[in-house]
């Protein structure tokens, strides 16, 4: 036991004396959560639009006022000629043009219909889509106000309610994802690098010749990272609660336990990577390509799994991060307990056991 404590002390010296690993351990989580929380967002705010108003009558003015009053749009300029639309998009600042047809009010009253053309810059399809939806929503609202004294015989009124994230804040989606990425990065990449470092330096050989047992070496190497990952998880949760007002509806204890489970599975992956790579560079490349990319692309963090082609959907099932994201979203946003998450938890437990068994086996083969 005394040997083991000495070993862990040494491991902390390594970590705290290396600026690079310190940055990855503590700078990265904070930087990432801030970045995703503030900068990267798929909500739209103050999008610059241009108005091409061929009528300039009372109705169009009212509509334009409504649009410019919303926080989503700001009117960048008023245009006169249809031909300028192309130039204005090419300049890049304006993302949408609203084109009111001639005699808008008159047509509306006489024919009961008038047209607004919404032209959007679809170089970014998501934003274009969102803009057109928002404009539509404002128009529908305006139309309703206009018609409020008239009753239509048959009417279907959709009442949408967005549960668990009524304001559709994207930070609710990013926090679970970032937490997953950070825990994966710290646990798997950092441990695989720190173990291969010993191999590369030749100190691993010295350790294996010493009376300290191989299992003690490995546990001693990963233990500090369990500790640091837990601290990271706490930092992320605290930041998201206090800065981004992310709710934690469910039990904090369950969240902590599930996080530790995920950390252990990531550590096992890290050990596995270290057994198959000879140098720190290889370990880092394998961790980045083999772990980070799938976590970002296939875990459902950014791209919804249900809209992926079937083969990718199947692959996503073997990615531990997918299950962990489901679990933390469930706990934080829906406030559900183990009775709803037991399946995902069990899958994660199974994967962890599998990874540990595999890395122990690989590690033994390597010793021969």
């Amino acid at each position: 036991m005394k040997r083991f404590i000495g070993f862990i002390k040494k491991e902390f010296y390594h970590i705290f004396r290396d600026r690079r690993s310190l940055f990855i351990l503590f700078g990265m989580p904070i930087a990432q959560i801030m970045l995703f929380g503030f900068a990267i967002t798929n909500e739209i705010n103050n999008v610059d639009i241009a108005i091409l108003d061929h009528s300039k009558d009372a109705t169009t003015e009212e509509i334009i006022n409504k649009i410019s009053a919303s926080k989503y749009f700001s009117i960048h300029q008023f245009m006169d000629r249809e031909a300028d639309v192309e130039t204005i998009f090419k300049k890049g600042k304006v993302k949408a043009v609203l084109n009111f047809e001639k005699d808008f009010s008159k047509k509306l009253i006489r024919d009961h219909k008038a047209t607004i053309q919404i032209i959007t810059d679809a170089t970014d399809p998501n934003t274009a889509n969102t803009i057109s939806n928002y404009v539509n929503a404002i128009l529908i609202q305006y139309q309703k106000d206009w018609n409020k004294d008239i009753t239509i015989a048959y009417q279907i009124i959709p009442r949408t309610r967005m549960v668990y994230n009524p304001e559709l804040k994207s930070v609710y989606m990013f926090v679970p994802g970032v937490m997953t990425i950070i825990l994966m990065l710290v646990s798997a990449m950092m441990t695989s690098i720190s173990i291969t470092k010993e191999k590369e330096l030749g100190t691993m050989e010295i350790l294996l010749v010493s009376p300290i047992k191989p299992i003690q070496v490995i546990v001693g190497k990963v233990f500090p990272y369990i500790f640091l990952s837990v601290i990271n998880a706490i930092v992320i949760v605290v930041l998201s609660i206090f800065i981004f007002k992310m709710p934690v509806q469910g039990s904090l204890f369950l969240l902590a336990m599930e996080s530790i489970l995920f950390i252990i599975s990531a550590l096992a992956l890290g050990i596995l990577i270290s057994t198959i790579s000879a140098t720190q560079q290889t370990a880092m490349m394998i961790s980045l390509m083999g772990l980070m990319l799938p976590v970002i692309l296939l875990s459902g963090f950014i791209f919804p799994i249900s809209s992926m082609p079937l083969p990718l959907q199947m692959i996503s099932n073997i990615i531990p991060a997918k299950w962990f994201i489901i679990i933390i979203k469930g706990i934080m946003l829906k406030g559900v307990g183990l009775q709803y998450l037991w399946k995902e938890t069990l899958i994660l437990v199974g994967m962890t056991i599998f990874f540990i068994a595999l890395s122990v086996k690989k590690y033994k083969i390597r010793l021969e």
Partner: protein
């Protein structure tokens, strides 16, 4: 087993698939002896040594180190030997003192004893001024000497040195050998691989491995007589060329 022998090997063999890295070697090393284990690169020295220090299982044959069987008692062997590899293997990001403490610790040396040892060691090596500096900042020669001292921290019966003087200057090599003599005089058996033939002259007995077999084993003096040459270099060349 002869009480005077601390290492005994009989027909010790290691195969990797079809390739025989070490082919039925037999030898013994006496207590307090400096035993030179020579051979060209790839002759099987390191593989043979790995079997003796308990990190590689032999394919066939028998061997015991410090009275323990290499098959069944590898853990006991590990407690009784010191090892220094050809790669410099202390931690660059730990100080001189921290390295000594750490390695003393994993060999289970008591804290009190480590403190005493550290003081003696630092004084002997003249490292007083850099004791609290990171090892990475030391010159290679100092690192090698420190590394050797660290491999003796738990007073092992046998110390295995795998090409310990690779890449250091002649003066440091000389000092290094003085340290080896000192350890041997205090009763530690030294098992050393090298391919510097002048170093072979310093050994009590040498064995020369060619293609996985021990082709010669005797004192440097007798080997020179046997091959009718004036130095070990020529002995080696004659053997290696077959």
């Amino acid at each position: 087993m002869n009480n005077n022998n601390v290492i005994e090997a009989q027909n010790l063999t290691k195969m990797f698939g079809d390739f025989t890295a070490v082919s039925a070697i037999s030898f013994e090393v006496k207590k307090g002896e400096i035993f030179g284990f020579l051979g060209a690169n790839g002759a099987g020295k390191t593989t043979a040594m790995k079997m003796l220090i308990g990190i590689s299982k032999p394919t066939a044959g028998k061997a015991s180190v410090a009275g323990f069987d290499v098959y069944k008692q590898a853990e006991d062997i590990k407690k009784n030997i010191g090892y220094m590899s050809q790669k410099f293997a202390l931690y660059d990001d730990l100080t001189v003192k921290e390295n000594i403490m750490f390695f003393g610790g994993i060999y289970g040396v008591s804290r009190k004893r480590i403190k005493e040892k550290t003081a003696i060691l630092i004084e002997e090596l003249g490292l007083e001024e850099v004791a609290n500096q990171l090892v990475g900042a030391l010159p290679l020669g100092w690192k090698q000497k420190l590394s050797f001292s660290v491999s003796l921290i738990h007073d092992p019966k046998i110390v295995f040195l795998d090409e310990p003087t690779g890449g250091v200057d002649p003066i440091t090599r000389r000092q290094f050998w003085e340290m080896i003599y000192k350890a041997a005089n205090q009763g530690t058996t030294v098992f050393v691989t090298t391919h510097y033939m002048d170093e072979a002259e310093y050994c009590d007995r040498v064995s020369i491995m060619v293609n996985g077999k021990i082709e010669a084993l005797d004192t440097p003096k007798k080997l020179k007589q046997q091959f009718n040459v004036t130095n070990m270099n020529d002995v080696f060349l004659k053997l290696a060329r077959g």
